[in-house]
Symmetry: C2
């Protein structure tokens, strides 16, 4: 015992009350620092509580007040079997969200979900444990999310915006981002392009659509899409397969994430293909590592911090029962070395 003497274990307000010679109600008010109780009594009780290291039971408080102070952060892993969570993009976003929300006195509860049925989100929001929920990434679960959003207000989703949707989304304009990336490759003179990414979710699908759109207006330019998992062990071998299939026929690759781009560049390096001279490669996200690698990555930037702020702000509004609109952020092309 360093600071000596935790005199006795007080386990609830009633005991503290007896010790202080007052009623439980008074203790409760004193601990909440309400001016309703005499300043002296208040301070005496607070001192006593501190001395005994007593802290009121949060479960009871939350049951009574009907507020939990907990925000659920949900990562649906619909089309990704494993370890989506280790995707640096999601983790960085998660970190910023933690910053924002702990600042406003909320706790974060993480749920990783592998949707087995259509009820996974209902289970989470109806659990009675949460004041609100943030869904990170729509995966292939947009329909479920949309249904829940119709009856559960304090829900904000990171993902693509669709005309007419009920859910409140925050995200970058993925189509515009895809367009920027492809355009960059075209501008450098590339004509035979490839796209690496898993288009099962709307976000990546939009990126591909944007890229296709850019390609379609340039005569003679083509774009082939190769399904490529995100942030899993499969990714590396899939990329290798893709490159084998492509051979030397491609001069530019639009990657759906920085991680995919990084892995792709690594594999090109192994095959003795130089980046960007023989094949140019673009990423997506602009993670910190994209400027730390060799070569530095030309990529489409999503402002993750701003996104987290927008999500937190929308959630705060919705916690108050008001409506908050979706946010579509404008992507920015960051030109470095790889394209």
């Amino acid at each position: 015992m360093v600071d000596g003497a935790k005199p006795a274990k007080i386990k609830n307000i009633a005991e503290l009350a007896r010790l202080a010679g007052v009623s439980a109600g008074t203790v409760s008010r004193a601990l909440a620092d309400m001016s309703l109780v005499n300043k002296e009594t208040r301070e005496r009780i607070q001192a006593l509580a501190r001395e005994h290291g007593f802290r009121p039971n949060q479960m009871a408080r939350r049951l009574r007040t009907q507020r939990t102070g907990v925000i659920g952060v949900v990562i649906p892993l619909g089309h990704e079997r494993r370890q989506h969570i280790s995707d640096p993009f999601f983790m960085t976003l998660f970190g910023y969200l933690a910053d924002e929300l702990t600042e406003s006195g909320h706790d974060l509860m993480l749920s990783r979900v592998i949707p087995g049925d259509d009820e996974w989100l209902d289970r989470i929001v109806d659990s009675g444990m949460l004041d609100g929920a943030l869904v990170i990434g729509q995966s292939n679960q947009s329909a479920v999310i949309e249904r829940v959003a119709q009856y559960y207000k304090p829900l904000v989703v990171w993902g693509s915006y669709r005309e007419g949707q009920v859910q409140c989304t925050v995200g970058v304009d993925n189509a515009a981002g895809g367009r920027l990336a492809a355009q960059r490759l075209l501008d450098r003179g590339g004509r035979e392009l490839a796209f690496f990414g898993d288009t099962n979710g709307p976000e990546i699908a939009d990126r591909l659509a944007g890229a296709q759109q850019a390609v379609s207006v340039v005569p003679g330019a083509t774009l082939r899409a190769f399904p490529t998992h995100l942030a899993s062990d499969e990714m590396a071998s899939q990329i290798a397969m893709n490159l084998d299939e492509i051979g030397a026929s491609v001069d530019g690759i639009v990657c759906a994430s920085d991680i995919i781009a990084m892995t792709t560049i690594r594999h090109l390096h192994e095959r003795g293909i130089s980046v960007p001279d023989q094949v140019a490669v673009t990423g997506f996200d602009d993670l910190p590592l994209s400027q730390r690698m060799v070569p530095q990555l030309t990529t489409v930037r999503q402002d993750i911090a701003a996104g987290a702020r927008a999500m937190a702000e929308a959630l705060r509004i919705r916690l108050d029962g008001k409506d908050a609109p979706s946010t579509v952020m404008v992507p920015e092309l960051i030109i470095r070395e790889s394209a």
Copy 2:
């Protein structure tokens, strides 16, 4: 309404009971699928609950049962001002922990703490919100953790093991790891070594100590330590400064993490210094990215998945009130291209 008809909002067990024509107790037991209630009644009640989308309030359940099912994951940011959380190592560990613990029916609550006083951990474990807590990284808070560990059993810490400690730690033998890295550089013929890392926490300090030990037995070999922050924006500029100060006098660098190594290699590349020919570089962690970069990283592997398993296992034992010993894992040198 896609699946049509959430007939009415049932908000507690009593209402459902009235609807089913039984008592609240019976409903509670039925929902818990206890054989104590007649199979027919049970199924009827379950069907009714499903139909109305009713789920019992977790706060009430937890208050009554005195079990929350929530494990706190705490990341103390004692000597790192910001964004420690985005460190891929911690995040990967966090991901595996999520796997392990959700499997055994626990939820994870994340707390990032910037220790302002000596009570931060007490506040967390006494909140009454948690069944147990995992501390990821000791930072410079070992003393606080040790004090809390004396009265709070279900606590497991990722970090360095110290003889005689009360806290239950899981972690790699950092000194051995540092020794391995330095030894590799020495074996390659390096004699003027440098160490990049922030030695305020015991983990990195141990790695440095191990490296020093390896160097000390080789005549003519030297090791200089340079303080280098982890996973913050400062890191890059600090590394640049370190390299400027070093000049051409160093032929091997022991980095305290893969991220530091990656950034270091990037800066060496910019200065036209080849890795590993002119300067060899080792990392620490063996993150997935270490084999995806150019050049691939020679690094000291920590088996993160195994670590997470060990932490979860120790916690489970401690949740049952029994004692679980610390785990010290053996680090492994993974030789790739950078050293």
